[in-house]
């Protein structure tokens, strides 16, 4: 049961500057009171949006210019904090299809893979440059290649990085790990039966 093959993502970008943007900012905890992920995209960055609005500023996720943003460009340690999948779920449901950042929290990264949202990394200067380009021309169509780990922006193509395991999962449609894990259930039972704490330490 392979999933969709994700070889490229195209669309406008959305810049989100700052290090250490945590999961609670992506989706405040009060919106986690739900038994499905439906509608969670509407609340992405809700408190940050309100906080900036009171100062007369506008958050990228509330800025009409970036309303069609599909490729998020963030900075360092993006998605730190909670393991809740609600955070990448809210980004995806808002419309984000891929992320570029300097680094990610690992749990957040893994959650993005299982939601078919490729995450690329690059250095600070490249992130800043992409953010500048998107801000100057929000309608610019960006094209991410998963196979080459590049982003093409106008006539320029920039080399990015992507974890090879995740890259492989996107390209063969195995980003949803479950099918692959299910194939080995017999072997799993074998491992389990030999674990000391399952065999009463015999």
């Amino acid at each position: 049961m392979a999933g969709e093959i994700i070889s490229q993502v195209t669309g406008p970008g959305i810049p989100l500057r700052g290090n250490d943007i945590d999961t609670d900012r992506i989706i405040p905890a009060r919106f986690l009171k739900c038994v499905t992920f439906e509608g969670i995209g509407e609340h992405a960055f809700e408190d940050d949006i309100k906080g900036l609005a009171t100062k007369g500023q506008i958050h990228p996720f509330a800025d009409e210019r970036f309303a069609n943003g599909a490729i998020l460009v963030a900075n360092k340690n993006f998605g730190c904090g909670s393991s809740r999948e609600h955070a990448p779920q809210s980004l995806k449901r808002w419309g984000i299809q891929a992320i570029i950042a300097e680094s990610y929290s690992e749990i957040f990264y893994g959650n993005c893979v299982s939601l078919a949202v490729p995450c690329f990394t690059t250095n600070h200067d490249t992130c800043a440059k992409l953010q500048d380009v998107i801000e100057a021309e929000p309608t610019t169509e960006l094209a991410l290649s998963v196979a080459d780990a590049t982003i093409t922006c106008g006539d320029e193509t920039i080399q990015l990085e992507i974890q090879s395991g995740a890259q492989c999962q996107f390209l063969d449609g195995s980003w949803d790990a479950r099918a692959g894990l299910l194939e080995n259930l017999d072997k799993v039972r074998g491992i389990a039966s030999r674990l000391p704490y399952i065999a009463n330490y015999a």
Partner: protein, 485 residues
């Protein structure tokens, strides 16, 4: 132990110079996946009401079964109110009630044990697992909650996971995981009076940063850790995730075994002796290799307080808040953002900062020893006027023990609100919340913007002793000046 000699020989060879991470990983490794990741068996799966309902929906949608229901345990902690009246069912908050009903229904349908409030077994998932003896050395543990790293205190590999992965564990009892590097963090010497496990946690995060641990498992050791109780060790491991590490652990020792003896789910009789032998064997070898080694001197750790919006933005209580330009240029934005959000100024002392709310509790500091420590500083005193103070036990079992010792009365007489078990104001998904831009002295683990229920609320993380003295004084106070209490 009926092994053929050749197998023992091979086992000895492969174990030379191995650390606990690699030993436990190898034991649970089902095989390598085409992606290059490994399929890892999960020995204990803990679930709660917030991150599991969608996972059960995925299981149903794909018509999957749960092949190892006896290896998953559940409770309700994030959304449950902490006052007796508000805990009456149905809960006033209809969304919270819906989540409660889902975990009840899902666990019943799939044959999973539910530590329910009615049975008196409920509590924060990371308090309940260890206190029941479910968490045992050498296990792999997963839970849809980042603070699963807490269980590493017992010599386990314990991972916080997302909801899709919760479904993976339910359906296969395994996870797809990459192999981590291991960083050994040695805490040498000893802690000075007034310095606690929470300060040790805040110290390594301050030193290594909130993303210093990315790609690593943290192995904590050294005399400071060796001399800690299990409850203290859990506090240190609990915050590994705040340092960016995928998991954190300590090697099991006699302190671990003494804690586990006679707990509900631990082996008994002859099996106990075999278990201890096994647990000793999975500890890191003395000649283990590490990808990195860091040393932190116990004597140099001060009582820490966070002043910003990440757990690394902290200072020793005697210090002044750092200058923006003392940080590397790329980090200055988040430092400025923190000062703006907190309405603090660089150079101001943290001591003396007025507090509106004090929260003692959470999976970081909601265990009996934490409540005892806090109670010792408020006994016979009064919470400062205008301060709202909550003492929230981590589990119903912790609450019973605290009440047996009269701690509830100590808190009550001092003007604290003595509550029932839950996550409470750590993330404020229940009615326990900050309002407006209140400042909270909190024993929890995160000082993120809006974390404690108000989008402008401000959180100062600190130890239970520091939080207790802050409650009495109404402001951030150096606990070392009050150790004679």
């Amino acid at each position: 132990m009926n092994r053929k000699p050749i197998l023992c020989y091979a086992t000895t060879l492969t174990r030379m110079g191995q650390n606990l991470y690699n030993k436990v990983f190898d034991r649970h490794c089902v095989g390598q996946l085409p992606s290059g990741q490994y399929q890892l068996f999960i020995g204990l799966h803990l679930i709660h009401e917030v991150t599991s309902p969608q996972a059960f929906a995925m299981i149903r949608e794909q018509e999957l079964s749960v092949p190892f229901p006896e290896r998953t345990f559940s409770t309700v902690d994030h959304i449950i109110p902490t006052t007796g009246e508000a805990r009456q069912r149905p809960l006033m908050d209809v969304l919270a009630e819906e989540m409660f009903q889902h975990i009840e229904k899902n666990t019943e349908e799939f044959g999973i044990h539910f530590f329910s409030p009615e049975k008196g077994e409920q509590g924060v998932v990371h308090v309940v697992g260890p206190e029941r003896g479910l968490t045992q050395p050498g296990m792999t543990i997963a839970c849809g909650d980042s603070h699963t790293s807490t269980h590493g205190a017992f010599g386990t590999l314990a991972f916080g996971i997302g909801t899709s992965q919760v479904a993976d564990v339910l359906a296969t009892q395994t996870l797809a995981m990459a192999k981590l590097k291991v960083r050994r963090i040695n805490f040498t010497g000893s802690l000075k009076p007034g310095v606690y496990a929470k300060d040790v946690a805040l110290a390594y995060i301050n030193r290594l940063g909130v993303n210093g641990g990315v790609g690593y498992a943290y192995e904590f050791g050294g005399d400071v850790i060796g001399n800690m109780t299990m409850e203290e060790r859990m506090t240190v491991c609990n915050m590994a995730i705040e340092g960016g590490a995928r998991c954190g652990y300590m090697n099991p020792d006699q302190v671990t075994f003494d804690y586990l003896k006679d707990r509900d789910y631990c082996p008994e009789g002859e099996a106990w002796g075999r278990a201890v032998a096994d647990w000793k064997s999975i500890a890191s070898d003395s000649d283990s290799n590490y990808d990195d080694i860091v040393e932190i001197k116990g004597e140099e750790i001060e009582p820490f307080v966070t002043w910003g919006i990440t757990p690394a933005q902290s200072v020793g209580v005697s210090q002044d808040l750092p200058a923006v330009d003392s940080f590397a240029e790329p980090d200055q934005l988040v430092v400025q953002e923190a000062y703006e959000y907190m309405s603090f100024r660089e150079g101001q002392p943290i001591v003396g900062t007025p507090v509106d709310v004090v929260f003692v509790g959470s999976c970081t500091n909601g265990r009996l020893s934490d409540l005892r420590e806090a109670a010792s500083f408020v006994k016979g005193k009064k919470v400062a006027e205008g301060v709202r103070a909550l003492a929230v036990p981590g589990s119903q079992e912790v609450a019973r023990q605290a009440i047996d010792e009269g701690l509830d009365k100590v808190f009550d007489e001092a003007g604290f609100q003595w509550r029932e078990a839950g996550c409470s104001m750590c993330l404020a998904m229940n009615p326990d919340q900050l309002s407006g831009d209140e400042i909270s002295a909190s024993t929890s683990n995160r000082n993120f913007k809006g974390r404690q229920g108000s989008s402008t609320g401000r959180t100062l993380l600190m130890s239970p002793a520091m939080a207790a003295i802050a409650a009495v004084k109404g402001k951030v106070t150096d606990v070392r000046e009050h150790l004679e209490n």
